[in-house]
């Protein structure tokens, strides 16, 4: 299996653990990720908020390069996936827009390749079978709240992945690696996304709702599929707890980190050192050695 790999801006910085664990797990499963050469930012939230054509043309450039590579695209970041897939669908359905945008691109997109999320790629039945066969130490004792967030699932008409209201793909993956995902009510509720920087009060409120519900349903960690969700859940849980008068301390993982942990892929544990919230309580619950933080928090 080979894919054109679109890391996006955050996987090399604030979400470096997601990037690192995706690479390691893909390699362990025999999935080749070929980075799209000279890829540009997908435009994320800002482009579609301010400029419709730009929100399609920025992804289109990347799609054109991937088409030249002859490979379908995999984008781990939920926002990148959503923007690239939305652009794919819009370009496929609107010839005039496609022609207008392609006129500005050296590598044109004619719809020959499609976009998938990392969650989608790692949870196909074939890949899950491979994961199952490669498990060294199941994550029994781990009770993750599977947190899908928004952009991997919605709008379902555009994305066509899993079930937007009652998703199960991540839960399935967690079961396969031996964890016991909990049943809870905030699987697909928004964390506040890009307001983390510009309007953090909104994120504090939403993160409080999410983490509180996870705790209420017995989770000992949250597993995410999005860099922004991860950052928000980690950064704002303390303030949310203070606001609500509850202890909302909760380790958060990227799903690829947990796949890697169960398969004992070398190098995965290093990712935990740079988490903003200490993961050792969760590692302890599954009988794993604690990891030393890179820097004292």
């Amino acid at each position: 299996m080979r894919y054109a790999y679109f890391p996006g801006c955050s996987l090399e910085s604030t979400a470096k653990e997601f990037g690192a664990s995706t690479d390691l797990v893909a390699e362990a499963l025999g999935i080749e990720l070929v980075e799209i050469p000279d890829w540009n930012c997908c435009g994320a939230t800002s482009a579609h908020n301010l400029d419709h054509e730009l929100s399609v043309s920025l992804p289109a450039r990347n799609l054109g390069i991937a088409e030249r590579m002859g490979l379908d695209v995999v984008a781990p970041c939920a926002a990148c996936y959503n923007r690239m897939r939305s652009a794919e669908m819009e370009l496929k359905g609107n010839q005039a827009l496609r022609d207008e945008i392609n006129a500005r691109l050296t590598k044109k997109y004619t719809g020959a390749v499609t976009v998938r999320s990392a969650l989608e790629v790692f949870t196909t039945p074939d890949v899950l079978e491979k994961v199952a066969a490669n498990i060294r130490k199941p994550l029994s004792g781990l009770k993750p709240a599977c947190y899908y967030g928004c952009l991997l699932l919605r709008p379902p008409k555009v994305l066509g992945f899993d079930d937007a209201e009652a998703p199960t793909s991540l839960d399935r993956a967690m079961e396969i690696v031996g964890a016991q995902p909990i049943d809870w009510y905030f699987k697909n509720e928004c964390c506040g996304a890009s307001f983390g920087l510009s309007k953090s009060e909104i994120v504090v409120k939403l993160v409080g709702d999410i983490v509180s519900n996870a705790k209420k349903h017995g989770a000992n960690c949250i597993v995410t599929v999005c860099p922004l969700c991860m950052t928000n859940l980690e950064m704002r849980q303390a303030a949310a707890g203070k606001l609500r008068g509850e202890d909302l301390t909760m380790p958060v993982f990227y799903f690829t980190e947990l796949l890697g942990l169960a398969m004992e892929v070398p190098g995965v544990k290093k990712c935990f050192a740079s988490h903003l919230v200490d993961v050792n309580p969760a590692l302890d619950a599954i009988g794993r050695e604690p990891v030393a933080a890179e820097v004292e928090s």
């Binding site: 801006c9 540009n40 579609h48 908020n49 301010l50 400029d51 928004c150």
Partner: protein, 189 residues
């Protein structure tokens, strides 16, 4: 940090306020959505994660657009506090993508130079786009620094920022793509 995020509900325009029947057409021209399809069931507002913080509820945005109260929409906080979560578009029984209507309203508001009640939100988006047109990618450390400077919000999150920097999450060197000219070209249209 204040816990008061709920905006005071702005009084809706009086029946004598001027309305703009072209507003709904401007919206449709940008995003293809027809606001007249909405029958005010309230599903969008019920599912909206940011509605608690808005001055105008999501379904009210559509109602105002239907009636042509353009400024009540374009000058609201609501359009800038929409997180783009697509819950509304997923659930609307009439198939109206309010998320796209919100995008269109933001674009019209900027195009028509309307006063922006959430200037910091707009500034962040503009800074991100400026970075993309310059580097081809977003450099998170300079984005954060420049955003803090422009919004004059220097000190909140400084501790978390330092933590992130020390954990290697905020690279010092911006990565720039080679074909920056092609990306810059996409901004002119």
């Amino acid at each position: 940090m204040s816990s008061e995020v709920v905006e005071q509900a702005a009084p809706l325009g009086s029946i004598n306020a001027s309305t703009d029947p072209t507003f709904k057409r401007k919206i449709r021209a940008i995003c293809g959505e027809n606001v007249m399809e909405c029958y005010q069931c309230g599903e969008c507002t019920a599912g909206c994660p940011a509605a608690f913080a808005m001055d105008v509820a999501p379904n009210q945005v559509l109602r105002l657009a239907q009636l042509g109260f353009a400024d009540e929409v374009l000058e609201s906080s609501a359009i800038w506090l929409c997180a783009g979560c697509e819950t509304c578009a997923t659930r609307c029984p009439r198939g109206v993508a309010l998320s796209k209507v919100m995008d269109a309203c933001r674009q019209i508001a900027v195009r028509e130079d309307k006063p922006c009640k959430q200037a910091n939100v707009l500034k962040l988006h503009q800074e991100i786009l400026r970075q993309i047109s310059t580097f081809g990618r977003v450099h998170e450390i300079s984005l954060t620094a420049l955003y803090k400077l422009r919004s004059r919000d220097f000190f909140s999150d400084i501790f978390a920022g330092i933590q992130m920097f020390l954990k290697g999450k905020l690279g010092l060197i911006p990565s720039r793509i080679k074909d920056r000219r092609e990306v810059r070209g996409l901004f002119k249209h």
